[in-house]
Symmetry: C2
Subunit: 268 residues, 2 copies
DNA sequence: TTGTTCGATATTGTCGACGAAATGGGCGGT
DNA sequence: ACCGCCCATTTCGTCGACAATATCGAACAA
């Protein structure tokens, strides 16, 4: 008979307020309205994300499912979901029957990411200045202090710190949509940098951050936008279009001034 | 033994050019280098996406897995993948153990989407003017002709058409990253409109499109940017912050100026 | 030695089924 | 008549296993 299911087909999303207006019978403790699932909170996703932003996972790295499952202590299905999510956000690429790899942007795409960042972040600094208030100033000053106090002893922590400056600006802008875009762009940009950086160049000239921060605190919008744009230009200038198709070129690059040959290959 | 798998761990992403240079033994027809999986090409995703952009799926609609699987003639696992992808892009929301629903933005988020669109699309028109060339002009003129010839006979086709104008501008900008963002924003904006629109108001004042198009063709950047911004303001003004939490309020809205009271409540 | 073919291995993709949670309706108590 | 509880049904989440495909190594021919 199949029972065509006449109702409840479109019940409307909304934090599951019970069908009627009656307040919940308190089966739940309180204040837990069953939040929507946020894949970004998944520990697997978080792990891969921070590993990437700290450059512990390099572009092109294969992310095998079974391997990750064992490494992170979960089952393959969670890994699959996490990888699918990261693939949707273009943090990883999935090839059919071959697996997932950390995304490696092309040179053109890297350029386009920076162009997009200039657009977005120019808007976020401007908006951040517009709606800057006491708590915002406190947050900004606190971050600037943290960056000033950073002694570069922990390269990974420093990398996170510089990225957080840009994210903080986007947060101060108060637009969650722009914030998400900025987050995504910053992450993907770090992939672009990792792909095309010259070996041994710093990631993000941290010297510019205090200047930008001061301009924001001074509410000098035009100068702050100009400084941010210039800052991003600076970062972009640090990358070069080396052969992005790697492997062979990578090897020639590695061995070209090294003079060693594989010898006779007997591992173990 | 476990076999720590000494090599090939990071082989680099790159369109799987065969391990050697030899041409393939011809199991594949030709010219198909195994492209990365693009979830956006999935027919299920496409179906839901166009259904949403044409407002055949309204915000809040429940997207049951088994139901969709039967409706679209696939298995549940494909539906799950598609829904996960759409959830990553915030087109749908997934509640644990409750299913997926077409995303219904909050009022603030709707405002933020428009603000973001002003930022992105101001940049895309500007860039489109900068790199406008012959084929670009042809495309733009062709689209303007199509919009001019549209007789609104097919409401769904008209909706797609107006969205495509904005996407075309973004395409002309030549920045794939910005293009993707514009695509996503346009789609989510249409969800915001569907959520908060006043019943019976047109979606996107199509009258503005010819003006903007002409300004682009005339390469008047300042005026085009201003026109685009104004156009988006126009659209945003058409929505109102009605109670977004729906159902009860939705019903009161439906019946509020209808003059009927529940009387003495004896249904049937 | 160089290049090709074939088989073994490993990894991914998919399916079916079961357990878990929530929804909805009916029942009994106040 | 209303409110709360309980159970049946539906739907989602997860696990295990199998099939499909690619990768790797070795044997083989030129």
């Amino acid at each position: 008979m199949i029972k065509t299911r006449g109702k409840a087909d479109r019940v409307a999303q909304k934090t599951p307020a019970r069908s009627k207006v009656r307040r919940r019978p308190a089966p739940r403790p309180e204040s837990e309205p069953v939040d929507p699932r946020r894949m970004d909170d998944d520990p697997v996703v978080q792990g891969i994300l921070t590993a990437i932003s700290q450059k512990r996972l390099k572009p092109g790295t294969k992310l095998g499912e079974d391997r990750l499952a064992r490494a992170l202590g979960t089952t393959r299905i969670h890994i699959r979901q996490a990888l699918a999510h990261l693939a949707s956000r273009k943090i990883v690429v999935q090839f059919p029957n071959r697996g997932a790899f950390v995304y490696r942007p092309t040179w053109e795409e890297a350029r386009e990411m920076f162009a997009a960042r200039r657009v977005i972040e120019a808007a976020t600094v401007a908006a951040a200045i517009d709606r800057l208030d006491k708590p915002g100033k406190v947050l900004l000053k606190a971050h600037m202090a943290r960056e000033a106090a950073d002694d570069r002893s922990d390269r990974w922590a420093s990398l996170s710190l510089t990225a957080e400056f840009h994210i903080l600006i986007a947060q101060l802008a108060g637009n969650h949509v722009l914030l998400d875009m900025a987050r995504e762009l910053i992450l993907r940009t770090s992939l672009a940098i990792a792909t095309f950086e010259q070996p041994g160049a710093p990631d993000c000239s941290p010297d510019s951050h205090p200047d930008i921060g001061e301009l924001v605190l001074a509410r000098d919008k035009a100068a702050a936008v100009a400084a941010m744009t210039h800052h991003l230009d600076d970062i972009e200038r640090r990358i070069q279009p080396r052969q992005a198709d790697g492997e062979v070129d990578e090897l020639t690059e590695i061995f070209k001034d090294l003079g060693v040959r594989p010898a006779a290959r007997h591992d173990s």
